[in-house]
Symmetry: C2
């Protein structure tokens, strides 16, 4: 695990786009590069893979080393391999994306070389990392519409207002509360519990939960393997 992989002609790297929901919307942590190329510019956390390290474990390591966090949602996004994406060498990057809850993100520490940015308002990043983040944002927003991905930003149970705020923050636009309630109630994936928020309110809001029989990361036949890896990473 300690020998960095360098190749004769192609370097294989893993990078990770980490999304967290803050009060002002989607945020991602970036790392300042301390060497050339792009010295001083911000970049996605990542680096060359180790010879005996599974790809997903490398992504988990990026996440842990950058933010001191582990993610419940870590999935392969895309492999970026443009010939000229790194100056002077061929670097192919397998990119993962991770989603962390806001209470988890609060545990993350910023430093001189690690800082959280608004995902929609990034500086010019090293390499093709702006393209990668744009693609990850597009995938996240597309996937919100047909999957349980919002779950990764929520606790075990949540109110409809909390769920709506996650959707609004990811989509970057307000949603009509009544329409949203109708959509959720028509969905099989979200289940009303008998619990309500405790407190002195006249009509305390009901708590909901996701149908956990459906996997959060749906990779069909790859799921089982992926689950096994998650324990390690």
């Amino acid at each position: 695990m300690t020998t960095a992989v360098t190749t004769n002609e192609v370097t294989l790297a893993v990078s990770t786009v980490i999304f967290a929901l803050g009060p002002e919307g989607l945020r991602i942590p970036l790392v300042r590069r301390i060497r050339q190329p792009f010295e001083g510019q911000w970049a996605l956390p990542g680096g060359p893979i180790e010879t005996r390290e599974p790809l997903e474990a490398a992504a988990g390591r990026n996440l842990l080393e950058t933010t001191n966090l582990r993610s419940t949602y870590l999935e392969q996004l895309y492999c970026f391999g443009d010939v000229d994406r790194a100056p002077g060498e061929r670097v192919v990057s397998v990119v993962y994306w991770a989603l962390v809850r806001s209470d988890e993100a609060e545990l993350a520490v910023e430093g001189e070389n690690v800082r959280w940015f608004s995902a929609d308002d990034l500086p010019p990043l090293a390499f093709d990392h702006n393209v990668i983040v744009d693609y990850a944002l597009w995938r996240l927003r597309t996937k919100m519409e047909y999957s349980q991905i919002a779950h990764a930003f929520l606790g075990e149970t949540f109110t409809l207002a909390e769920l709506r705020r996650v959707h609004e923050a990811v989509l970057g636009r307000p949603l009509d509360p009544a329409n949203f309630r109708r959509q959720v109630e028509a969905s099989d994936a979200i289940i009303a519990t008998e619990q309500h928020i405790t407190g002195g309110r006249h009509r305390p809001p009901r708590l909901y939960r996701y149908d956990t029989s459906v996997a959060l990361t749906d990779n069909g036949p790859l799921n089982k393997k992926s689950e096994a890896r998650r324990v390690v990473s």
Copy 2:
């Protein structure tokens, strides 16, 4: 373009799953391995990438060299990087999938070391290629339900019966014609033309076409780049 990439510790390869629709359902071409490991076993077409070759161009080359075909649909599927997927070395494979029409597939030549197999009834393949094909099949079947991917198997215009036969062949089960017609007519993606099949029939079937303003390979912000590459590959 002629120097094969070998790396000190990790080999980066591209493999391609090629689906065609034949009269008996989905078929894929495989290549017999002529060297160790897995000598004599069938495998997906592929090999190490060239230092200056874009990943998608390598996949297009796999397709062309194996089948003498070019595909209108060529998309990245997943990057497979398990540490022990190849005996004695670390090989990370970026896998693409291609869809070809049956009239195109008829142009493909079989040889001693290239043969077409039923996608649902494969022999034990080299490496983890059975897992890769299972994943590609799952993705294809899932994607049929929410995208225009069936278009890749059809000509510019088609009858509802032709479209239904594509769905049936991919899903591997019969579909109710009346229900299928209702679903298609409710969809914005499929447009009725004023043309009908020519011939001596009393009520010649109407021809339909896809809404071509929607890209077949929908990778959001990556689409434009991908289209540009397609011309090259």
